[in-house]
């Protein structure tokens, strides 16, 4: 487990909802708040692919900030909605999309990484393995494609392997900034790779392609199969 002195998630959540739930005069539901999920491994467990320094900053600072700001925006949204303040509601949308997206994406990200000794990097088996071969020719071809698109992405964003629920096929796609994959269509995220500079810069500096090459050593295909 990551070394943090915190309450268990349940305690924290119940504390939070206790503090922040506001029962309105009409007795409607209380506001759901979000919290930073624990990592299922230590910060240093993904080395040398991703340094412990990056993992700690990425989780404790970046992701935490998205969670904090998402909660704040949702609170403001509820207040504005209850007052019928349409301009305020509309103005909040970008903060909700950005911070909410950041929380969603990073929660997926931690789950789809795993230390080598817990299966990180092990090639996909079963139906996912076959689907990859069928759609992309081979795992190498898929990795190549994702790396190329991830490297070509201008600015900040994510590169994804997704499942198109309607067409029942695998797709590779990218999203800008913190847009979650759902914004691109009826897509279930199977693998998501963060290509914001904060995800790799301290270790790989400007050489994003090296980061992309190495991250596959700690990608959890087991986790991806679960979502298939």
């Amino acid at each position: 487990m990551a070394l943090r002195t915190v309450f268990s998630r349940r305690t924290l959540a119940s504390l939070r909802s206790g503090l922040s739930s506001s029962v309105t005069p009409t007795g409607t539901r209380s506001l759901v708040t979000f919290s930073l999920p624990d990592l299922p491994y230590d910060y240093g467990a993904l080395e040398p692919a991703i340094s412990g320094e990056i993992m700690q900053l990425h989780h404790q600072k970046h992701h935490q900030t998205y969670v904090t700001n998402y909660n704040k925006a949702l609170e403001q949204l509820e207040e504005a909605s209850n007052k019928g303040d349409a301009p305020a509601v509309v103005k909040l949308q970008s903060a909700i999309k950005f911070n909410g997206g950041g929380h969603i994406n990073h929660s997926i990200f931690w789950q789809n990484l795993a230390p080598v000794h817990e299966g990180g990097g092990e090639p996909p088996k079963g139906s996912l393995g076959w689907a990859i071969d069928e759609h992309f020719g081979s795992l190498e071809a898929l990795v190549s494609k994702m790396n190329a698109e991830g490297a070509a992405l201008q600015g900040s964003g994510w590169v994804w392997l997704g499942l198109d629920k309607e067409l029942k096929k695998l797709v590779v796609d990218t999203t800008p900034n913190q847009d979650p994959l759902v914004t691109k269509g009826p897509l279930i995220p199977l693998i998501g790779i963060d290509v914001w500079e904060h995800a790799y810069y301290l270790q790989y500096k400007n050489v994003r392609p090296d980061y992309l090459k190495n991250i596959w050593k700690v990608i959890s295909w087991k986790n991806a199969s679960k979502n298939l």
Binding site: S94, Q154, H198, L202
Partner: protein, 308 residues
Amino acid sequence: METVATASLPCALFPRRGKGSPAAGGLASTRRFPYNESKRKCGAGKIAAKFELKPPPYSLDALEPHISQETMSYHWGKHHRGYVEGLNNQIVGTELESMDLEDIISRTYNKGNILPPFNNAAQIWNHDFFWESMNPKGGGKPSGSLLELIERDFGTFEKFTQRFITAASTQFGSGWVWLAYKANRLDVENAVNPCPSEEDKKLVVVKSPNAVNPLIWDYSPLLTIDVWEHAYCLDFQSRRNDYISTFMEKLVSWEVVSNRLEMAKARAAEREREEERRKQEEEHGSTPGDNEATEMYLDSESDESEAE
């Protein structure tokens, strides 16, 4: 598009205007931003040239302890250099090869339908502009007409600073934040203002994503801060707000910003004069002759002045 032939004449005929120097000689071109010309190597008689990586106006360690030499060596030495090399590769054998950087930016922005060289071209321009916006002994307050305009358009210098900082911390994702002089342009893209007044020539704080810059809205940029993570994550990690405050308090070169404002005002005035001239010519039905400024420009001893 090219009436002023700056782009087509061999560079030997035209001394480069200095960075940040006040608009000289009144030849403020209506489309040029004279304070950011990338150096070009001129081939014998041929115009197509490569862009060069321009160094900042100070050494890479000069901004310590605020921005580290390590950051500068990556930011300038790798990122900025990468944009230059990338663009040079992209323009080979294309119409862009003989164009000035700002024309490439405009052409490849392509009214929003961005073409691949845009990112490299705009990022070259943006980084040149950014280095020049800073000074190892920067910070403090502006003075003179710049301060007057800031106070007119933002209330106080402190309120401007607050607005700039807020914009920089809420530019979601990669991008830039600018102080710009918006002369006679409406707020929506670069639409022409049908009822221009002195008040419309104002300062604005604007944000732009990724490589976009206010040139594409026909604003005159005066100051910028780079809020791509590579600009600050080695020195400040996730603390973008600390980086922005440090920039404002210790690094902004108000002298450069003031000079840019003077050039922007001169450019706006020149443009107004030209539009007035054009309107009068239309009203009086005379054939629009050569732009007087153009003739002056071309009045050199060389035979090549005849070539267009």
